[in-house]
Each structure stands twice: as structure tokens, then as C-alpha cells.
Symmetry: C2
Subunit: 461 residues, 2 copies
């Protein structure tokens, strides 16, 4: 994130355009509005639509064509807006037309944001075949290939010539999401090859598709998790990837723009989970929304924190004798928490991006704990010097330094291993996040610190 005047300028220019459009609506300059709006990029149409109020949107329903409304709704995914409100205000004919003109992955996305009554109203108004297609797509599990794929792709037969294929692509051009990748299927709709438009253009028009296609197709089954798809597409630099059922029948395709959204969303999720937040749209939540979503976690952590409190209270005698011990509680628990979180972050991202393999986990944990031991000894030594200088208490300094070293070594070990353990028992490791590690490390580090202190208490007092 760096500030950038140029981008600000662009944004300002865009917002000036939006303001001009708003004025046209308010002053009823209909034809001028229709022209200016049509010149916007689909994303900008969407952004403008969701920025204005209901009154302006009502105006737009009268003056936009359903093609434009389809563009507006197709960007709902990046813009986040309460779709059920929009569909309540929108004339139902218009909603129907717009849904028909959207690509079916976008339509599925929007329909999933509506309430049940709205969904069935739209399904009733659509042609039966379209309804079945969309319902079928909506039946796939959330965040799997099936749920983000589109069924609007181009498939060709291996017996076609390259010239025929090009003609076919032209004729499909208006109905599909991308024409740049086409799939070759046999008579049973089994996926047997892939070709890019570039391959076809470069081929002799008389050549057979079966001779020029790539039959080593990398494909995805419908139940595969979207994060896995993102890995594959990122590795292979694909513009699209085909989706097949269990019998290798081609059932859909996923395009790169949808995968960019996935990568962004998954990274956001990992990031927010590390802070024990479980929702991406938190930045837009109301107060009650934010509070209720975080509360279960925080209450859980309160109870976990009571474990540390109970341990500490069992050392009340030690504390009563040397109350200065309490002054170093936050630093020891904090540092073991910090290093633990660092190790955790490296493991979680390593697993998420696929860089870290399970077989390396112990090697990785060993590296982390050694690094904890080294950094712990150095920070411990510094702390020892500071305590000797400020409080003139070398033994206290030694106890604090040794505790810090052990706490940081244990912290890094736990932090690096927990994510693998979580993956093993089937829990998303990003959830085993900062605060959890901190609690475990708190307990361990306080036990070490006060056991040491209690042992040497006679020399301390």
C-alpha cells in the first residue's frame, strides 16, 4: 500500500464523472444520461449504480436496457451490496431479463444473495431450461469448482477442421464468457483435448482438430475446493480451466477473473482469521454485527485467559514475597506470543500457498525452535543487562532471561507445529490463529517463569 497521486487523480476523474451522471438524473436529462452511462466500463456502471440512492436507481430501471443491468449485477461480487433490496425495487420483468443476460456463474452468485421468496419468483419467471441450469449450479457446495464455474463455454469435436472450429467460435462469440480457450469433447461429451484460439489461428484451416489439440488436459473435478483451483491456475498461468464430473464429462469452465477474486478472498480470509476474525466483509459491518461476530471468540479467549490467571494465582506466595516478578509478566508472555505468531504465520502461509510440504514439517519446526533459541538468548541477555542496570538484581535478571529464552523457544516450536496438526485433523490452520497460540504460550511461559522464581525464591528475597 503506497499512496499514489496518479491513482487518486484517476479516482477523482471517475467520481467527477459519477457526479455529472447524478446531475443528469436529477435534472432529467434522459438522453444525455443514457449516452454517458453507456460509455462507462461495465465495472464503472456497477460502481455508479451501487453508489447512488434508491431514487436514482428507480430512474435507472426505466432508462437502462437489460444488457446494461446485467453488467451492473455481474459486478455485484466485488462491490458487495444488499441484493435483496435491489431486487425488491427492481421491476420484476427487468430483473428477469437481466438475469437471463448474465453469465450463469454471475447469475448464480447474485441469486444466492436473494431471499427464498425472491429466488422462487425469479425461477418461476425464467424459461424452464434456464431455471434448471441455474438450480443445478446452485446445488454445488459453496466454494467448490461447481459453484464458481460457468456452463457457457465453447466445445468442439475432434473431427472438425481448424477452419470449421474458427467459424464455430465466431458463431458462439456472443454467448460465452471467453472464446480464447476451447475444449475438445468426443460424442459422449468426454473431455479429450484443449486448444487456445491462438493455436487455432496459427493452424492451417484444413488441419484436423484432433491433430492440433493438446490432449494432455489439466482439469478440475466439480467438488474441488476453490483455493486448490487457484493454486493450479496460478502455477500453470491458465486463462481458464475445464471442470469435469466423475466420469470425465465436461460440465463447465472457470475463468481467470473469477480466480483472481478467489485468491483475493482467500488471502483476506487467512489474514483476518489470524486475528480471530472469521468474515471478509467485516470492514462494512455495523457495530452490532462486528460485536456479535467477534464475541464468541473473545468469550472463549476470556475463559482460556482464566487458565493463566489460575496458574498465576497458585504462585501467590511467590508473588507476595517478590512483587517485582509481576513487572516482567507482560514482556515474557508478549515475546513468546510474538515469536509464536511469527512461526505460525510462516507455517500457515507456507501451507496455504503450497510451498511447505508436510514431509518438511519437522525440519521446519526444528529450524523455527533453533531460531527461537538464538533470538531468545540474545533478547534474554539484553533483558538481563537492563535489569541489572535498572534494578541491580542479577538473580532476578537471570531468572527473567532464562524464562524468556525457554518461552521463545517453546513459542516458535508450538507456533510452527500447530498448523500442521490442525491440517491433519481437518481444521483450517488459519483459524488456529494468533490469540490461540498466545494463550498456549502464556500458560507455558508463566509456568516456566514462576517455577524458576519459586525455586530460587530464598535467594531472591
Amino acid at each position: 500500500m503506497k499512496g499514489n497521486n496518479n491513482i487518486l487523480e484517476r479516482n477523482n476523474a471517475l467520481f467527477n464523472k459519477y457526479e455529472a451522471l447524478l446531475k443528469m438524473i436529477q435534472q432529467g436529462e434522459n438522453s444525455q444520461f443514457i449516452y454517458s452511462f453507456s460509455c462507462l466500463h461495465p465495472y464503472e456502471k456497477s460502481e455508479f449504480f451501487f453508489l447512488v440512492d434508491e431514487e436514482e436507481r428507480l430512474y435507472m430501471y426505466r432508462f437502462l436496457n437489460s444488457e446494461e443491468m446485467a453488467q451492473v449485477l455481474s459486478n455485484a461480487e466485488s462491490l458487495k451490496h444488499d441484493m435483496s433490496i435491489v431486487f425488491k425495487e427492481m421491476p420484476s420483468d427487468f430483473a428477469r431479463e437481466a438475469i437471463l443476460k448474465m453469465s450463469d456463474d454471475d447469475a448464480t452468485y447474485v441469486l444466492n444473495l436473494l431471499n427464498n421468496d425472491q429466488k422462487s419468483e425469479i425461477f418461476n419467471s425464467l424459461p424452464e431450461q434456464k431455471t434448471n441450469e441455474l438450480k443445478n449450479l446452485m446445488s454445488y457446495h459453496h466454494e467448490t469448482a461447481g459453484s464458481i464455474m460457468t456452463t457457457e463455454y465453447i466445445s468442439i469435436s475432434p473431427t472438425m477442421t481448424a477452419g470449421d472450429a474458427l467459424k464455430h467460435i465466431k458463431s458462439c462469440s456472443g454467448k460465452v464468457q471467453t472464446i480464447y480457450v476451447v475444449y475438445v469433447v468426443n460424442n459422449d461429451n468426454e473431455l479429450i483435448g484443449v486448444l487456445s484460439l491462438r493455436n487455432i489461428i496459427n493452424s492451417d484451416p484444413a488441419q484436423r482438430i484432433s491433430d492440433v489439440m493438446n490432449s494432455n488436459v489439466i482439469k478440475i473435478e466439480s467438488f474441488i475446493d476453490q483455493e486448490e483451483i487457484a493454486h493450479v491456475m496460478r502455477k500453470y498461468d491458465f486463462l481458464a480451466i475445464p471442470v469435469v464430473d466423475n466420469y470425465n464429462h465436461l460440465i463447465g469452465m472457470i475463468t481467470v477473473d473469477d480466480i483472481i477474486d478467489v485468491i483475493d478472498k482467500e488471502a483476506n480470509e487467512d489474514y483476518l482469521k489470524m486475528a480471530a476474525l472469521d468474515h471478509v466483509s467485516d470492514a462494512e459491518g455495523t457495530v452490532i454485527n462486528r460485536a456479535t461476530k467477534r464475541l464468541p471468540w473473545l468469550i472463549l479467549l476470556t475463559f482460556l485467559g482464566m487458565i493463566t490467571a489460575t496458574i498465576l494465582s497458585s504462585f501467590e506466595d511467590t508473588l507476595a514475597k517478590v512483587s517485582l516478578l509481576a513487572a516482567f509478566i507482560p514482556i515474557i508472555s508478549g515475546m513468546s506470543g510474538n515469536t509464536g505468531t511469527q512461526s505460525l504465520a510462516v507455517s500457515v502461509r507456507g501451507i496455504s500457498t503450497g510451498e511447505m510440504k508436510k514431509k518438511n514439517k519437522f525440519k521446519h519446526a526444528l529450524k523455527e525452535s533453533t531460531s527461537g533459541l538464538i533470538t531468545g538468548s540474545i533478547c534474554g541477555f539484553i533483558l538481563f543487562l537492563v535489569i541489572v542496570i535498572i534494578y541491580n538484581q542479577p538473580l532476578l535478571g537471570l531468572i527473567v532471561a532464562i524464562s524468556l529464552t525457554i518461552a521463545m523457544t517453546v513459542g516458535t516450536t508450538i507456533g510452527s507445529l500447530i498448523p500442521f496438526f490442525m491440517t491433519k485433523i481437518g481444521i483450517d490452520p488459519a483459524v488456529a490463529s494468533g490469540p490461540f497460540i498466545t494463550t498456549i504460550n502464556d500458560i507455558v511461559s508463566m509456568l516456566v517463569y514462576f517455577s524458576l522464581a519459586t525455586t530460587f525464591i530464598s535467594s531472591l528475597t
Copy 2:
């Protein structure tokens, strides 16, 4: 991150393929190796190449063509490998040929990983024009549009017909990264329009480009930060975006596959920075590497932690009288740290993804602190009940509960505002991460807790 048998199967199949290839090398089955290797996807060629040892790589330099070596090296970005070692073993003719056959953004990336001697050796062996092109690209600032763009794009003239344009695209097809987006420039090389191959295919071959092109081009200046480019490309669902200089001259293009790498990398950076780690490749670092990179941060945090320790030691009298107070230090500082980190995460990602505008910052902070007040009161009340039940000390419970509420309210406020402040003074807000917020919150919460405790000490003892 979910486990997935299907993906594991695919990976196993791939690794079996790699093992078979390795065997072919070891048994000298040259022609079989050459054929099998050529059937791999470019990414797989790369993965195999970087998986094997020097001995096998030396074999490959003899049997692969430079086209294949270019594919291998082009994927260096996702695979991370010490390029200077590879270039040391590689015959210099072969290295030269491979660099010539790579797209220039990938070549720039690889050259930047070499040491200075290797760089100049390669530059000396390349044709002068190529050297100048690459040096020019390498002169752009790291992580800007200029540094990740390619200069191998297709530009056409507005006076061409669609049919001419299609012919021109076919003739360029072997030399450019993508043929799916072409840019229209005037005689001065100023960018005046954009067209997709789809537009061209759908146009009447006799139509003029100036009549069918989109003249509302969204473009990027060469100095724009890559994270900003990712925002724009994500919003608009582009396959490529043109790069211009200050005078609107077309100088390059950035393709979607490079942007996917950027999104992934930036998300990783944000994530690791939150844990006070500043490098993406930490997952591969040696022990010394990990320790030395983290040490400066940890030493800084040790000194920051001493501030809390000093504050606490100034309350030594209070602690000596009621040593049970110490038992609740970790829970109060921990909870204010946790909520602060949550608020921080929401703000940092909100700023990073562009969802959160500066003008909303106070509204956002108000929401966060109110949410902190609500969750703090509830957790505080629970803690109060637990302390009354376990320790039968209602006044202590009240002090802890009030301190927790204040600490969590302050924690959320600070956590939500700090990232905006950091952005304002030009520091990456992701760096103002967890541990920092935790230290500030520690100081505030301990001051509140012990001030309250000292005030009511007479009733407590």
C-alpha cells in the same frame, strides 16, 4: 486450505512422471527423455528442472533446446531457486539463447536474480538492441508497472481494417505474450484505443479499426505501484492493461498472469508483516537467516516491553499488598491486544483492498470502539462473575472488569486508527502490526488496571 485426495492423486501422478524422467536421465535413454519432457506443461518442465540435482541439470543442458530452457526459466518466479547457481552450471551459449527466447518481463526477472558478473556476461553476449531493451526495463523501480511489464505486445494503426488487423495479429503471434488484447496507437505512438481479439473477430473485415476500437482506454503509468495495478485489473476483469509514459506513449503491457503473482505476493506480505516478519520467502530460510531477520524487531519489542515492566514496577507497593492482582495481568493485556489486532486487521485489509476510504476512518473507528465497549463489557461481566465465584472478591472482580472494558475499548480505537495514521505519514500500515499495537495496548491497559487498583487498595486489602 482443505485436504483433497483428488489433488494429492494428481500430485502423485505428476511426481511419478518426474521419477520416470529422472530414471531416463540416469539410464541415458536420451530420445525417450527428450520426447517425454517435451510433453510436459511449461510449468512442469520448470518444476522438474528445479527439483533435480546439478548432475541431472547438466544432462538436460545437453539435450533440451533453448525454447524449452526458456520455458523452464520463465517459471522461476513461482518456483524460487538460486538462479546464479543455475547460470553458473549452464553453458553460456545456451543461457544466451534461452534469455533471447524468454518474454522480456520474465527475462528481466531472472536477470535481476543474477550477480553482477553474470549479468554483464549475458548482456555482452546478447544483441545490442536486446541488451538495451532489457537494461531499460531493469531501470524501472522494483514493484512498479515498468518493472513487471512486457514490451512484447501488439499495436495496430487506427487506419487499418479489421481484416488487416487480424492478419497482423497472426503474423505477430509467435513473438508476443498475448494476442487477445491489441492496442491502437497513432503515428506518434500515443495510445488512442484498445481492442480485444474477440472484437476484431466479430467485426466485418472491411471495417476500420478507428470505428470499432474502444477509445476509453484504462491505462497505467510506468511508475504506478504493482498493488494499485492489481486493484485496477481485478475491478475491471482485464486480461491485460497497457502501460504508458508521462506523454501517453505506449511502452508496454501487463498481463493477468503476472498480476495473479502480484496479488498473491502482496497478500502474503501483508500477512507476514502482521506477524512482524518482513519477507515472503521466510518459509525457505535457514536458521541463521530466520533469526537475523527477526532479531531487530524482537530487540525493539524487548525494549518496548521494558516500558510496561517499568510502569508495573512503579506499582510495586500495590502489588506487594495485593499480589493476586498479578494473576489478571495476562488476561487484561492479552484481551486488549487481541481486540486491537482484530481492529488493525480490518483496517489494514480495508485499506489494502481499497474498500476502506480515508474519509470513513473516524466513522470506522467509532464503530470499532463501540464494538470494543460492547464486547469488553460482556467479557468483563463474565470475568467479574468468575472472580466472585472462584476468589470471592467482588471488588477485585469489579476492578478487573472495568479495566478489561476500558482496555478493550481503547484497544479497538487504537487498532483501527493507527493504520490510517501510518498511511498518512507514508509508512506501510501492514508494518504497524500486531506486536506494536500489543505494546501500546499493554501500556494503556496496565496503567488503567493499576491506577484503579491503587485507588481502591484500602478496600482491597
